[in-house]
Point group: C2
Chain length 368, copies 2
Amino acid sequence: MEQAITTPVVGNGTGIEPSEAIHREELQLAFRNNAIPLEALRYDVTPVGLHYTLIHYDIPFVDTSTWQLEIGGAVRSPGAFSLADLQQRPQRTLRVTLECAGDGRALLQPRPISQPWLTGAVGTAEWTGTSLSALLNEVGLHENVVELLFTGADHGIEGGVEQDYQRSLPVEEAMHPDALLAWSMNGRPLEPQHGYPLRLIIPGWYGMAHVKWLRSMQALTEPFTGYQNTTAYRYSASREESGEAVTLMRVRSLMVPPGFPDFLTRTRIVRQGAEGLLGRAWSGRSPVGRVEVSTDGGQVWETAAIEPQQSPYSWQRWSYHWEASRAGTYDLWCRAVDSAGDVQPLEQRWTARGMGNNMVQRVAVQVI
Amino acid sequence: MEQAITTPVVGNGTGIEPSEAIHREELQLAFRNNAIPLEALRYDVTPVGLHYTLIHYDIPFVDTSTWQLEIGGAVRSPGAFSLADLQQRPQRTLRVTLECAGDGRALLQPRPISQPWLTGAVGTAEWTGTSLSALLNEVGLHENVVELLFTGADHGIEGGVEQDYQRSLPVEEAMHPDALLAWSMNGRPLEPQHGYPLRLIIPGWYGMAHVKWLRSMQALTEPFTGYQNTTAYRYSASREESGEAVTLMRVRSLMVPPGFPDFLTRTRIVRQGAEGLLGRAWSGRSPVGRVEVSTDGGQVWETAAIEPQQSPYSWQRWSYHWEASRAGTYDLWCRAVDSAGDVQPLEQRWTARGMGNNMVQRVAVQVI
């Protein structure tokens, strides 16, 4: 019989913090989980060490001499596959943009207490692996399978529940032709923090679906009701409501902050003259149709030039010529619209878990 | 004529914060600058993307088709070297542990406002490059040279001063036989955040001396009085005092937090039974002579097993067998003593800039 596990209360205990001040526990999470430095949005493909990471528990240490991917549940031929088994299968490389569903959480007012992302929980990589649907076809899903459940090797407590990290996907998404079991990132074996030896890549979905340190896949005939699916990654107005499941990435754009920074405050200084603004824009499974830039805090919007996608799932580069002709303080905003017509909101859409906050980025600049 | 640059005030304006609450500007810095997740102390050599980073301004984007290292000042043969020039010189690989001088800053009470490191601003890598002293001998330092000044390509404002990142070293340190001009980390070209294409490695010194994105070396006949040497990296009781220069890394040990974590609070849960504790210990230029562990918050100290150094400049692995026989709450501490007799203090040694806080790490654990 296990003793109850009690963990410290953070803030006022509601999980929602009205104050701007950040708690120490949030700072700890910020050090564990890395954002892309926004100047690194210049790279089409993000260098491995600059790609965002979100690690729920500890990075597990996986011994690939014994590691196997187990496949079971409602399948005709359950089995286990070594890394060598998987790497002998046909392989593909896909350029995919990943973003954490909690990106922008700590910009919300009041602030849901969790990983306190400001912005930049995103990155783009070249993922190499083998087709998930081909493997599922081979093991043979029963006709009544509704979801696939994916289990990682990372273990911890969350919301009072001891758990391995587990997420399910609807069977249609697991059978998506571009879903991968990936063992390589940017041409090299996965780094420990990115899921070594194997992770899921579900193009278009927020990061929580791309299960890292994957060790098991189970075919389910009833929907999974575990923590990450039914409690954590939800859009809801309160922590008590179930709300809607978080799925595809919402449309978003970010800019490289122009000029140079003040170390402490990250205030941006730009010298008078022509300044090329650039950034990236993406949306779950729709190309971005338009990016607009405002240099006066949202009064006038101008259209930025936007490059075509380099893959159906990668961000797009945009650029805008700004004539910073007069000294003063400027508020630079950028806003993307995807081909489905979804647009980034100017104001926050608050949710109790701080999910999917894709409101426009605002960069304060001092022109000298 | 340039307009004055004003940057927002953080906190009460003194740069010293009495409250536990973290300011948003500190959170921004925590996302830009990455600590090693403590479970990654298991690796002898830290994977590139898990090594700590501290970037004062932006990561600069250096074009190596035009980049050159300029060498000038009080030398007989000033010149400029391309990366290919440098890579044709004799090369060496050294395993070196680097730590940020501000590691532990945000554990101080009151808290100096800057990069708010808790712990883990450290990493160990294999650095490959060419001898700095050999190159300096070749260009020929004048007899009256007292310091070498190193300038990086990163540019920003700090403490109200617009600057390129610049640090000087006493000529004896620049001529140290193990000082390197390094272009490779763990066998690959430097990643952008680690100084591509070239950085200094000054084994034994805190990280601020290992200038990244190096573009210039100047031989000086008078000591450099720039910001990073005379204002930023100082041990002093107040921000007004000049104090002492920060130089070599102080002795320190860290442990891998045992068991598994709670996501939000990072509370550690350990199941009853034998638990192998392990960690790393290091000191600037002295081997670590002893590591001690306390499992009762410092009442009883036991000696840990410690492995010899793998290089004169790398951390050492230590381990300790803990019999976690009874359920309850434990306070695990570790403390290193180096061969010079320096020991980690139990209490903070407060300094106004939050430098060199090497007090013992404390890990709260719940045994169930």
